[in-house]
């Protein structure tokens, strides 16, 4: 069914060249295009993109947040494959997104409050583009996911810095508010974070996993103090260390390039995280903010799957359909427990509600567990 490996490697080079040729010139000319950057006016209820049709090439979106909520901006290909995104655009801030868009249909999305599927609009990119070979599609998967990891890592650093500042200032309420938000970015990239030895346990370890060599530190130590005693007066060093560790892991994550197979396994592992840590309430046992982590794990899994989507579409479209239905189902189940811009606390859900979430995750995880085999099959 597939050409032998040596031949396809040659093909990758050829197609990459073809794509570059199709993009209509160098990045510089495209970015500086006759009409300048595409403006995006984001508010809490709207997402006005100045253009809905573009020529293939590299474009710059200038996003201005004039709402009251922190927002995110995405350009999605089919199946919510992230072509480009900027995270953590705070009210009043403007940020730019530079993204290469081959011909095709896309969606733009603002996510005020950083939650849900966002405010969407269609974006059509015209021009010609050759269909990808399977291996080129796989190579793009890694690149696409690297973009995701990069933006998430940046937001993780910023939000952890905010959280750490609040802890060091002794502001318990603000710390509690920021805790699940900072964790969201961590939970989205957890399979990548877990690659780096001792950093993950230092950042995200739980009390019962602590040892003499790796004492109880990081997010959950601060969580425990915030929610049990409310005394964070001695937590300055723990908070500083958390930020140091998060910066270290973010730098490593951005430099890491995952193979398609690692992406596939990462997508599955994130759902295993949900099934074994979040539905049980183990992860955030003091704050019960497990549904934040739950949603973030699902986001991360979806991003990994989306990156693999072009390759999967070629090899097993029926599986893609099943996975799409699975994500829709999880989103619908999770949406029942939205609470403002956040989520209900884990300990307010009934056993039947948790079983509903568990069933939805299992329904999604089973087809996702098949991706690795599809990617690896010769």
């Amino acid at each position: 069914m597939r050409t032998p490996r040596l031949v396809t490697l040659v093909a990758v080079g050829a197609v990459s060249g073809a794509l570059a040729a199709c993009s209509g010139g160098s990045d510089d000319t495209a970015a500086a295009g006759p009409d300048g950057p595409i403006t995006v006016k984001a508010t809490d209820t709207a997402c006005e993109v100045s253009k809905s049709t573009l020529n293939a090439g590299t474009h710059v979106f200038a996003v201005t947040n004039s709402g009251a909520k922190v927002t995110e901006f995405y350009v999605y290909a089919t199946g919510d494959r992230v072509m480009g995104e900027v995270e953590n655009i705070t009210p009043g801030l403007s940020r730019e997104l530079r993204v290469e868009l081959p011909a095709g249909t896309y969606q733009t999305a603002c996510k005020p409050g950083m939650i849900g599927t966002g405010i969407r609009a269609a974006l059509t990119v015209s021009g010609s583009s050759a269909p990808l070979t399977e291996d080129a599609a796989l190579q793009q998967a890694s690149e696409s996911y690297t973009r995701y990891i990069t933006s998430q890592s940046e937001a993780l650093e910023q939000k952890t810095a905010d959280f750490v500042a609040a802890v060091k200032a002794g502001d318990v309420q603000k710390s509690k508010d920021l805790f699940p938000v900072a964790r969201t970015y961590y939970e989205r990239i957890e399979p990548v974070a877990e690659i780096f030895g001792d950093l993950d346990p230092k950042i995200d370890g739980r009390e019962d996993g602590a040892t003499k060599e790796l004492p109880f530190t990081g997010f959950h130590k601060l969580e425990k103090d915030l929610w049990t005693t409310g005394d964070i007066s001695k937590d300055g060093p723990i908070a500083d260390q958390l930020l140091t560790d998060v910066k270290a892991i973010a730098a490593k994550a951005k430099a890491e390039k995952l193979s398609p197979l690692q992406l596939a396994n990462g997508a599955k592992e994130l759902l295993d995280e949900v099934a074994n840590g979040k539905i049980t309430g183990e992860e955030d046992r003091y704050s019960h903010t497990d549904l934040w982590d739950f949603a973030a794990n699902v986001d991360g899994s979806q991003a990994a799957v989306a990156a693999l989507r072009p390759a999967l579409e070629q090899r097993d479209p029926a599986l893609v359909k099943q996975i799409d239905e699975g994500f829709t189902n999880v989103d619908a189940e999770l949406a029942k427990y939205r609470d403002g811009d956040g989520w209900k606390l884990w300990n307010t859900l009934t056993e039947a509600q948790l079983k509903g979430l568990s069933d939805a995750i299992n329904t999604l995880a089973e087809p996702i567990s098949k991706i690795a085999g599809v990617i690896a099959a010769k």
């Binding site: 069914m1 699975g326 079983k355 329904t363 085999g373 599809v374 099959a377």
Partner: protein, 432 residues
């Protein structure tokens, strides 16, 4: 994607499975569903029946296996909720289940690739804990609950509401019931029985996995030590009260009674159930510690049988005819008026019988340190409205045993006839 998708199925233990097929072949030629002859083999060599207990019970037949099949030693029962709204997906899963059930009852892996033959990057299509184990007499019996036809609001879920049999009417609430809804009922059930617990668990685990996205496990129950014999060849086992249970059970050899009381006959209801049977499940917690401090005489009075021999009180041997009219010298009935055997006896229940196929269960201990144990009662019948319901109403009102038991779970399922040909699948006539 996997090139080697052709039938590479190799039995988990080729030699034994092939031996089992041999026995099954003879059985299939000789008797309905083949189960009877395997029973006959058991009869002569029950103790040393390793090879036979290891063998395969034929999956196909006019009736489903696992009903009059000689009761195996172990049970894993599971009830599912159907979570899809898509009729086509439900049908496809039933086809996938049928194919997997056929393989597993034949001692093969659940999927066509197998537990260890696939590529290293993909999860195997069989979970692997039955590698090296023979078929172990595994039977898989499927049933459809009332809620599969209509949901609580009366909506026709899969376009089959008009095929719901009248006999599948919800069971009434019986006096004294302490039913936990979370471990009761369900849209679809599967009864896995085998002579090796690992084989039964393997079968349910793999069916549940195949069904993910279409069904979700609602509850399940493990059982051990069959508490009924379903053929005359089998010795009567004991339940956790220590008494022989199932002496008067409907047996496979009673051809006329099987016709009258077990299999749904033409004209009983919708045609898709002809050759099927209705299954009632009741998880009956026994208050073990209280029972154990009850005197032997009172235990025998409550049951109506002698603990040692299993004979009805007043008789010498287990299978001696019970005499419900016998009086003591004082004019008191020999079998107490509230004795279990009297109240359950066909003569006080309009002559009707059940085919019981229950298992003991011990779910560890409860929070008070008491054995969480009892009987997982399973009974098959032609029409529960005329069989289980009146019998249980009688027992629930009067049985002296009620002081020592609590019914904590209930279930009712329509078990369709057997799968008869290669393209056939569980419930095909229902979804035709």
């Amino acid at each position: 994607m996997v090139e080697n998708m052709s039938d590479s199925t190799v039995s988990r233990r080729r030699a034994i499975a092939l031996a089992g097929v041999g026995v099954a072949g003879v059985a299939g030629a000789a008797a309905l569903g083949g189960a009877l002859v395997r029973g006959a083999v058991d009869e002569h060599d029950e103790q040393a029946s390793g090879a036979t207990a290891a063998g395969a019970v034929p999956f196909t037949g006019a009736n489903q296996a696992g009903i009059i099949t000689p009761a195996q030693d172990r049970l894993h029962f599971v009830a599912f909720d159907v979570v899809t709204k898509d009729r086509a997906r439900l049908i496809q899963m039933l086809k996938d289940w049928t194919a997997a059930a056929q393989r597993m009852t034949n001692g093969q892996d659940a999927g066509p690739v197998g537990a260890t033959a696939g590529i290293l990057e993909a999860p195997p299509d069989d979970t692997g804990e039955a590698i090296g184990l023979p078929a172990s007499g595994l039977t898989l019996t499927v049933g459809f609950g009332p809620t599969l036809f209509r949901d609580a609001s009366g909506r026709d879920r899969f376009g089959i509401a008009d095929k719901k049999p009248a006999a599948l009417a919800d069971l009434p609430q019986f006096p004294g019931d302490t039913i936990d809804a979370n471990i009761s009922n369900g849209d679809i059930c599967v009864q896995a029985c085998a002579n090796d617990p690992q084989v039964a668990v393997h079968a349910i685990r793999n069916l549940a996995r195949i069904g993910i996205g279409v069904v979700a496990v609602r509850w399940s129950q493990l059982g051990f030590g069959r508490t009924s014999s379903t053929t005359q060849a089998q010795a009567t086992p004991r339940n956790l009260f220590g008494f022989k249970d199932g002496t008067a059970n409907l047996k496979a050899e009673e051809t006329q009674a099987i016709h009258d009381y077990l299999w749904v006959q033409d004209g009983d209801g919708p045609a898709w159930m002809t050759g099927g049977s209705y299954m009632v499940t009741r998880k009956i917690r026994m208050l073990i510690e209280s029972w154990d401090r009850t005197s032997l005489g009172e235990q025998e009075d409550i049951i109506g049988r002698v603990k040692g021999t299993g004979a009805a009180v007043g008789q010498a041997n287990e299978f001696d005819e019970i005499d419900l009219t016998a009086k003591t010298a004082d004019g008191e009935p020999v079998i107490k008026v509230d004795a279990h055997v009297r109240l359950a006896h066909p003569t006080v229940n309009g002559g009707v019988k059940l085919l019981r196929r229950g298992y003991n269960f011990v779910d560890g201990s409860d929070g008070l340190g008491r054995l969480n144990a009892g009987l997982f009662f399973i009974a098959y019948q032609r029409d529960p409205r005329k069989q289980f319901v009146p019998i249980q109403l009688n027992l629930a009102r009067h049985d002296a045993m009620n002081e020592y038991v609590r019914h904590v779970s209930t279930g009712l399922f329509a078990c369709p006839p057997g799968v008869t040909s290669a393209g056939d699948y569980w419930g095909s006539a229902l979804f035709a």
